[in-house]
Amino acid sequence: MQMVDLSVRIGSLALKNPVMPASGCFSHEFGQVFDLDRLGALVTKSVTPKLRKGNAIPRVAEVSQGMLNSIGIPSKGILHYVNDVVPLYAAYSSPLVASVSADTVAEFADAAAALSVPGVAAIEANISCPNLEADGRAFAMMPDTTRAAVAAIRRRTPLPVWAKLTPNTGDIKAVALAAQDAGADAIVVANTILGMSINVTTFRPTLGNVMGGLSGPAIKPIALRLVFQCAEVVSIPIIGCGGISTGADVVEFMLAGATAVQVGTASFIHADAMMRILEELRAFCDARGIDRVADLVHKARVEHEPIEW
């Protein structure tokens, strides 16, 4: 049996396989459960230049086939990340991707520059966070603010820049194109969807922060559609994210146009979810005689078998 080639390329970055964690849903603690070196990349929780405590508790609520979270972005700052977090990952061969978030374009650019240190292989710009210069609307809600943030980051780092988009925009294609125009090496599609739930016993929102981000299988059809729409317009690689929990889900996202995927919530159900997913992906390719997983990218057959009328 020929081994399936699981490697993929995200711009200049070669990944041993297309499966990596989603920001905020991973840290070195998973090393207690599986060998982190088996992952395509290691994406850490977003850090911010400012020190932040994060949001009020409770921070998580369960919904149908998904969860709402309002962690916010507790952060000990960029320096702490560079000095204390980056070294934790030095022992691993999988590339470290530093997710960063900021309140303004200038802060984003400064943070990206400060994160461009040995040990960091790429910067993921979490532009799905509130933009304080635009009334708190996330940068990635609009093409212009997306362009401004990504371009500023691009100018200040030699590392590959991934722009992580928000599914809450009504205009994903324009936003994706703006990220590409501004020099993003890849786009991550997508972050959580804004949601809410209320405890009918207490009449209170279940989250301390009232609203929060919906993730998990519930959002998979939406995230997949966003990937498919982006793939229609951009030429840079797309990293699919949203509700992925099986090898078949990875195939679905790759067929829709993703070159790699991120797994978030599924790791909370099975801590070794990414290992299971990789095994399923390999088995799928084996069974179908697919030599290179990269051959799946954007291969959805959108023409339907002719139906006789």
Partner: protein, 281 residues
């Protein structure tokens, strides 16, 4: 009945995610159930106060998504068993309640930091209410086997809710039951009781779980009498491995109040360091 196989539990990976077989799952009283799972050695390494993260299999009408944290109520390596005592409150515990012998479920753990009991201790005082009893119960055999005296104040709505037998597990424990029904569980009366215990037979440590009011009381008495204490906290969780930052509670540390993760920096915390109370729901 097949022995559950760990998916990832070599020495390098201390946390196991194991498909365990249910040995028994029966009602203890109207609200609580007792679940016995067949468990391989890695799971039996649990210590009192640690917990497991249970994936409750879906059942019609109850399709829990996240895992449910559950303190280990009894650890029996010689029987290859871990046991739980749980209150049926929502989708997850309802789904759990439907399991029968022979069913299997995914169990991750052991997780978190348990109670600190030193063999040098001579006497421990435990104050439990409601399901807090399940969390503290494994301390009893651990202490008794080491010759440590155990005094327990167990608080419940009524005698039929107390589960004294489940708590003592045939070990010798001096139990003071207090009830809402006869108002013996009022904070004032419990304070009088605790002072009597503290005065007569000063414990080396106090453990508590399950009640904000009792926590506040014990914090005060602990300071006054100079007795250290620990408390097991609860908080909604997602990962239970320290990754997601969902499960934080405010904890005093070095003069400041910081967010600590119940799943890996707890669930057992120093009694005096817990800042603020919290109720679920």
């Amino acid at each position: 009945m097949s022995i559950a196989q760990p998916i990832h539990a070599p020495a390098d990976f201390p946390v196991a995610d194991v498909q365990c077989t249910v040995r028994a799952n029966r009602a203890v009283n109207d609200r609580y159930r007792h679940l016995v799972l067949e468990a391989p050695p890695p799971l039996c390494r649990a210590t009192p106060g640690q917990f497991f993260h249970l994936l409750c299999p879906p059942a019609a009408g109850d399709e829990p998504f996240l895992r449910r944290p559950m303190s280990v109520y009894r650890i029996a390596p010689e029987e290859r068993a871990i046991e739980f005592l749980y209150n049926v409150v929502g989708a997850g515990t309802r789904a759990l309640a439907r399991l029968t012998a022979g069913d299997t479920m995914s169990v991750m753990g052991p997780l978190g930091v348990g109670f600190t009991i030193a063999p040098a201790h001579r006497h421990v005082l435990m104050v439990a209410r409601g399901v807090g009893l399940a969390t503290m119960a494994p301390v009893v055999p651990w202490a008794r086997r080491r010759g440590i005296r155990v005094t327990a104040v167990l608080s419940a709505r009524a005698p039929e809710d107390l589960m004294e037998r489940e708590f003592t597990q045939r070990e010798e424990v001096r139990v003071y039951p207090v009830f809402d029904r006869d108002a013996s569980s009022d904070v004032g009366r419990v304070e009088t009781l605790l002072r009597a215990i503290l005065d007569q037979d000063r414990p080396d440590a106090m453990f508590t779980c399950g009640s904000n009011r009792l926590m506040t009381l014990l914090q005060r008495l602990g300071l006054e009498y100079g007795v250290p204490g620990e408390i097991a906290l609860e908080q909604q969780m997602a990962c239970a491995l320290g990754v997601c930052l969902c499960c934080v509670r405010p904890i005093r540390a070095g003069g400041a109040i910081v967010h600590k993760r119940v799943c890996c920096e707890g669930p057992v915390f120093d009694l005096q360091q817990v800042a603020g109370t919290w109720r679920h729901g």
